[in-house]
Amino acid sequence: MPDPHRTVPDRVRTLPGWLRLAPAFTIALLIVPVAAGLVAALLPAFGYFPPLGGMGPSLDPLRDVLSAPGIGRSIFLAAMVGLVSSAIALGLTFILLACVWDTPCLSAVRRLVAPLLSVPHAAAAVGLAFLIAPSGFLFRLISPGLTGWDRPPDLLIVNDEWGLAMIAGLVAKEMPFLLLMALAALPALDGSRRRMVMASLGYGRGTGFFVAVAPQLYRLIRLPVFAVIAYASSVADVAIVLGPTTPAPLPVRILEWSSDPDLSTRFMAAAAALVQIVVTLSVLGLWMLGERVAGWLWLKVTTSGLRSGGGPPMRAAGIVLGLAPMLAIALGILLLILWSVAGPWRFPDSFPASLSLRSWMQMGSDAMELTITSLIVAIVPTLVAGVLIIACLEVEQRTGRTGGSRSLLVLYLPLLVPQVTFLFGLQFLSIVGRTDGMIMSVMMAHLVFILPYMFLSLADPYRRFDKRMLQVAAGLGMGFWRQLFQIRLPMMVGPILTALAIGIAVSIGQYLPTLLIGAGRVPTLTTEAVALSAGGDRRALAVAATLQALLPFVAFWIALAVPSFLARHRRGMQIR
């Protein structure tokens, strides 16, 4: 007989002990590469890297970078594009939400977001280029009728020196992400009731949103916004496809220096990677300053009691404005597909004279190999991430210990530190460890970026799961593994497959990790599409970019189709 007054110590015995290591292991997986990469970029930046003869410490690399021609402009471009594109993307997101919140349109927007989110940055950028270039679709539509042009005008639209095309590309690509985050946060703010309260105070839908919802919504999506800013100020692939070239934004120049056959420029690249952190941090700092100003302005305007909303015409304009960037991406993807099967397609013609599969045939075996590599590099880390995340969430659910806001910050760490910087450091490390160019290393690098997105996608459905189902199962005599594999996972097949599709989409979209850690020896559809974007072969580019866009799309399609099929006779299964 046990002592009747003892405190019953432990009610999580059901959980296998070793599984409790999962959260710590996952956190290490997120922190260690970022930290190691940062340190490894720091040392050569100050001239210390013995394998290349750098015995430092020295300020020469930094001096070389800062005296490189056009460096000021490169830095300015990176910062400006990052700041402006994020501000516009956030602004349009809020405008769109203000017009559609608490209306049936909201679910239409929700449905639009997922497929657009799956489009990789590079493919979206190439599609946009096909749309707005002087020889692109828009000019073809109005030529020669409106313009009188029978040859492409000599305009610098794509790769323009102010980075406008690049900003457009980033806005279009970041909006779906911000929308997704905002849509996920919106229910917590109880829109319908706020809308009623605001309406009773005489506020229209739009003004009501900005007064009653926007500030809290922004607070909820602040981390994702920061991730967008950090990404946009250090992005390479979109910059290569759409950005200015003489000089290019800083991240592109870091890439150039790091791939220069003259190994001594590696020190410059490291120093520039350091400058990149300063640039990204400065942009984030400026943004936080902007937050203050915006908050002050908001207070001024809202306390003035201004109510006029502009009515339906303003709403319509807002919806068009908000949807335009996303429609541009959709149109761009259609153009990619069209170009990949286009026969002869002379300039003012809106559509190709004939269709042919020649480009696909020509690319055939190459494309097949690239696709297989891309898939392997995507699927393996996605599965690993899936197992780790489920283990973490299971531990969290069974022990009741959520990591709180600190673990959220760890989750966002790889998204907040400029990719180009710590990946560059990791490249140094992998050269030292002779693991560069190995497909394993590339998969490890992808894992770091896949984990956060998959976790964010799976955490909510996992936490919302009706725990009584598991309590009933335990009462029926099912232990931990049976509860997991026979009850929880089958019931969650929808969210799990969605998370896996997100993992694959994120991996397929990764340009820098593939290029830097793969040392150019692990070519994927992404690196190929970006490499081809500089050349003149539109059709080959179209094939590569189409495939790049297609893979995530297929993954999402499977993630929708399979659960619906499995649950076709099971109405009680919630697919979404």
């Binding site: 007989m1 046990p2 002592d3 009747p4 007054h5 003892r6 405190t7 019953v8 009610r11 999580v12 015995r13 059901t14 022990t399 009741g400 210990r401 009706d466 725990k467 009584r468 189902m469 598991l470 309590q471 009933v472 199962a473 335990a474 009462g475 029926l476 005599g477 099912m478 232990g479 931990f480 049976r482 509860q483 026979q486 009850i487 089958p490 019931m491 097949v493 499995l566 649950a567 006779h569 099971r570 109405r571 009680g572 299964m573």
Partner: protein, 218 residues
Amino acid sequence: MKSMPTDNAALTLIDVMIRLDGRTLIDISATVEPGEVLTVMGPSGAGKSTLLHALAGSLAPAFDLSGTVTMGGEDILSLPAETRRMGLLFQDPLLFPHLSVCGNVMIAIPRAVSKNRHERQDLAEDALTAIGLGGYGPRDPATLSGGQAARVALQRTLLSGPRALLLDEPFSKLDAALRQDMRRLVFDHAKARKLPVVLVTHDPADAEAAGGEIFQLD
């Protein structure tokens, strides 16, 4: 075909105390004889369900639990939830939505009873016939009526060979006529199998139908 041993032991609670943030929610000592019902009553938020979670082994970690619970001399609280054999019934039937009606019952049959798939299926079909749902096996549980689902949930629990039944407002979502039938069905089964029952409810009619000792929470 073997059947699960019925232990027919009393469920004994000795100084079971549940605290949250230093506040005592429940402090109870009681003995529930086989076939008898202990009814725990109280307003919502008083922690009635918490007691069931403690007995079932699914108490949230935020709670502090002390005391002893035994069945036939065995210390229940030191067992993991899945070996306590505490049959749980909630106000929702909580049939597993990804399984068929038959699958829901089959999953509950202990492997000690039968490892053979066909035999398990036959057992499940028989059990469904016994509650007037013969031929319902292949159906989607979501297509059952509230009363049918409640009966499947009860049968599922009974087939798992429980040593005791823990009922968490199990009749509150059924309409009045159905509630009578379900009450009788549950209590008759418990009596026939000599299972001690802990019932948590806020409905005095439940307590009356149960006919056992009443423990009032406030």
